[in-house]
Symmetry: C2
Subunit: 358 residues, 2 copies
C-alpha cells in the first residue's frame, strides 16, 4: 500500500491560478516516480471568488476545514482593485500563518545553473543561503490605531510585538539549521542602533542563543548594511535569521540577486506539527502580468519540493529540485520572460514534470 498525502490546494488570485496547476503537475509526476499518492482538495479562498460571494477571504470555520490536511499548497492572494491588500492578506495568508502557528518561514536563496544573476561575475555556488523569517509576530502586529482623525493632530500608531517564546523558537530553529550545515554560519538581522527597544531585545536573545551553539559562528548585521552586503558579498551568507519584516525584505532581495523572484520558494512551517504547514512561492499574485500565461512556475514547483521534504519524501523533493535545475540549464527554449526566455508557464511546468518522470 502506497502512502497517501491529503493536500489542500488554494490557487488564489492572479498568477497564483496559473502557476499552481504546474506545481500540481510536478507533484503528481514526483508521486508517480516515487510510489506515493496525493489526495487533493481545491479551495477557492481568494478575492476573485470566495470574497466576491461572501465578503470574506476564508469561511468562519477555516480552522476545521483546513486543519486536518497534511499540508496546504498555496498560490498567491491579492487583487487590489477589488479588495485592499491588507484586507485580503490579513484575511487569508497572514491569518493562516498565524492561526496555524507556522512560526518559521523558510526561504532558500540559491543561484541555480542556467539562471543569470544581475550581479557581475556571480556563478552558481556563489549564492546559496537560507533566510529564516519569523512568521507570526514582530512588526506584523494588528495592534494600533488612529486618533484625531481628519485634523492636523491626526496620529497613527502601530505596535511591534516580540515575545520571548516567539523570538527564541525561531532563533532555535535557525541555529539548529546552521549547526547542520557545512559552514555552520549564522547571521542575525537587526536594527538595534535605531529601533531602540524591540531590536536590542532581539539581539539579546540571539546572543543568549548563540552561547548554546558553540560550533556555530554567529554574527549580526544591521538590516541597512545587510541589504547592501547581499549585493556586494552574497557568498558570505549561510543562514540568515530575521524578524517578520526584515525576513520579508531579505527574502525578496536575495532571490533578486539570484536572478528572479519568480523561482523563489517558501515554506511556512509549524515545526511542532500541531497544524498543517503551508507552501507558497515568494512572489505575489502579480496582477500586472496575470492572464498572459507567462508567469514563472518555478517558485511554485520548488515550494512543492519543500512540501515533499516536510511530508517525509526527501528523495522525491531532491528529484524535483534537480529537475528544475536541469531544465533551467539545458532547455533555454522553455524559459519564461523573467528568465530571459519567451516560453510559457505551462511549457516550463510541463518540461519540468517530464524531467521528473524521466
Amino acid at each position: 500500500m502506497s502512502h497517501r498525502y491529503r493536500i489542500a490546494v488554494i490557487p488564489g488570485d492572479g498568477i497564483g491560478r496559473e502557476v499552481v496547476p504546474e506545481g500540481v503537475r510536478c507533484l503528481a509526476a514526483a508521486a508517480q516516480a516515487h510510489g506515493f499518492e496525493f489526495e487533493i482538495a481545491e479551495f477557492d479562498f481568494a478575492c476573485a471568488d470566495y470574497w466576491l460571494r461572501h465578503g470574506e477571504m476564508l469561511p468562519p470555520d477555516w480552522r476545521e476545514v483546513l486543519g486536518g490536511f497534511d499540508a496546504i499548497f498555496f498560490g498567491a492572494v491579492g487583487w487590489p482593485e477589488v479588495v485592499p491588500d491588507h484586507v485580503s492578506l490579513w484575511g487569508s495568508l497572514l491569518q493562516l500563518r498565524r492561526g496555524f502557528d507556522q512560526y518559521v518561514n523558510l526561504r532558500p536563496v540559491r543561484l541555480l545553473r542556467g539562471v543569470r544573476s544581475p550581479l557581475r561575475d556571480r556563478q552558481p555556488g556563489d549564492i546559496d543561503f537560507l533566510v529564516v523569517r519569523e512568521n507570526t509576530e514582530g512588526e506584523y502586529s494588528s495592534i494600533g490605531g488612529r486618533i484625531f482623525e481628519g485634523t492636523d493632530r491626526e496620529t497613527v500608531v502601530q505596535e511591534t510585538v516580540m515575545t520571548r517564546i516567539g523570538v527564541d523558537r525561531v532563533l532555535r530553529y535557525a541555529f539548529d539549521l546552521a549547526a547542520a550545515r557545512p559552514r555552520k554560519h549564522l547571521t542575525w538581522a537587526t536594527k538595534s542602533n535605531g529601533i531602540s527597544i524591540t531590536m536590542p531585545y532581539w539581539d539579546e536573545r540571539a546572543t543568549a542563543m548563540a552561547q548554546r551553539y558553540p560550533d556555530v559562528t554567529a554574527d549580526k548585521d544591521h538590516i541597512d548594511i545587510l541589504t547592501a552586503k547581499f549585493v556586494l558579498r552574497p557568498q558570505q551568507y549561510d543562514v540568515v535569521v530575521a524578524s517578520n519584516l526584515f525576513g520579508d525584505i531579505l527574502s525578496d532581495l536575495g532571490p533578486a540577486c539570484a536572478g528572479t523572484i519568480g523561482i523563489a520558494p517558501s515554506a511556512n512551517i509549524n515545526p511542532d506539527r500541531t497544524w498543517p504547514s503551508l507552501f507558497e512561492p515568494v512572489h505575489g499574485s502579480a496582477p500586472d502580468i496575470a492572464g498572459r500565461g507567462i508567469a514563472n512556475p518555478v517558485g511554485q514547483i520548488w515550494s512543492g519540493a519543500m512540501m515533499l521534504d516536510h511530508l517525509g519524501e526527501p528523495a522525491a523533493a531532491a528529484q524535483v529540485v534537480a529537475a528544475i535545475e536541469t531544465v533551467l540549464d539545458e532547455r533555454p527554449e522553455v524559459l519564461t520572460p523573467d528568465l530571459g526566455g519567451s516560453g510559457t508557464t505551462e511549457g516550463l511546468g510541463t518540461a519540468i514534470a517530464a524531467e521528473i518522470a524521466a
Copy 2:
C-alpha cells in the same frame, strides 16, 4: 567683504575622525576658489571622548551650543565595545535629527564615472535617483517597553508613530523635488499589505498628496519588491520617498548598487531653517576598518557639497561633485580599497582638494 559661514564640526568616532579632515580640506579648497570663508568650531561629542568623560554623548545645553551655527558637519558616531549603539546614536545623531527638526534626510544615489557597479552592465547614468527619508518619526520612536521580564511571558513592544504633519511635510518635500526634475517621477515605499495600520495611512497621505501634483507620475512599491527592483531595474527610479526605517534601508542598498557605501552622502535638512541642518556620510564609524587610514572620504566630501548647496553656494557645490567624479574617473592610483584601489583616505582627499583648486 566675503561671506563667512559658521560651521560646527563633529568628527565623532572611528573612521569619522579620518574622513572629516578630508571633508574640511575640500570645503576649504572650495571656499578659496569661490571667495567665501568658513569659521569652524570643532566639538568632541563622541563615544571616544565626551562620553568617556561625561557619560553622555552631548552636553545638556547642546541646543544652545549648536543651535546658532549655519550648519553641522558630522562624521560618524558609534563605538559599540564601549557604548551600546542605541545609546550612543540616540544620544547624539538621532537626538540632533529630531531636536533640530531635520525632518528630511536627502540621500542621492548615483553611479559615478570611474566607479564599478556590482550590477552587470550598469553604466553611469543608469543609476541616478534621490532617496528622501522621513527623519524624525515613524519606526524610530522611543515609545515602548518590556513586561514580565525574565519569564516565559516576557514581551517587548515598540510603537511606530506617524503624524499627519510629519508624513505630509516629507511627502510634500519629495513631490516638490520630483516636480523640479526632468523625469518627474516619484515612488513611495510602503508595506501596506503586511503592516496594516501605519502603512495604509502612509499610502493614504501619499495618494492625497499625488492629487496636488498632476505633473508628477507617482506610484508605490512595497519595500520587499522595491529592494529587489533596485537590483533588477535601478534605472526606473527618480525620487523615492520612504519612512524612516525604509529610507534607512534603501539609502544603504542604493549606494551599494552604485558601487560602494563609502561614497554616499546625506543631508539632514530642516527645510524651515529654524535650526541648523546636518551633513554626514551614509556610512557609520566602521570600527572594523578604523585606524588604518583606508576609509573612503568621498561620502564625507560629497556631504560637504550638499552643505554648500544648502548654504547657498551651488556653484561651489557643483565644483566639489565634479572634482570627485574627475578624480574617481582619472586617478585610479589614489582610490581606496572599497573602490578597488590601494590608496589612502588622505591621498584621495588631497587629490580631490587639489582638483577643486585647479
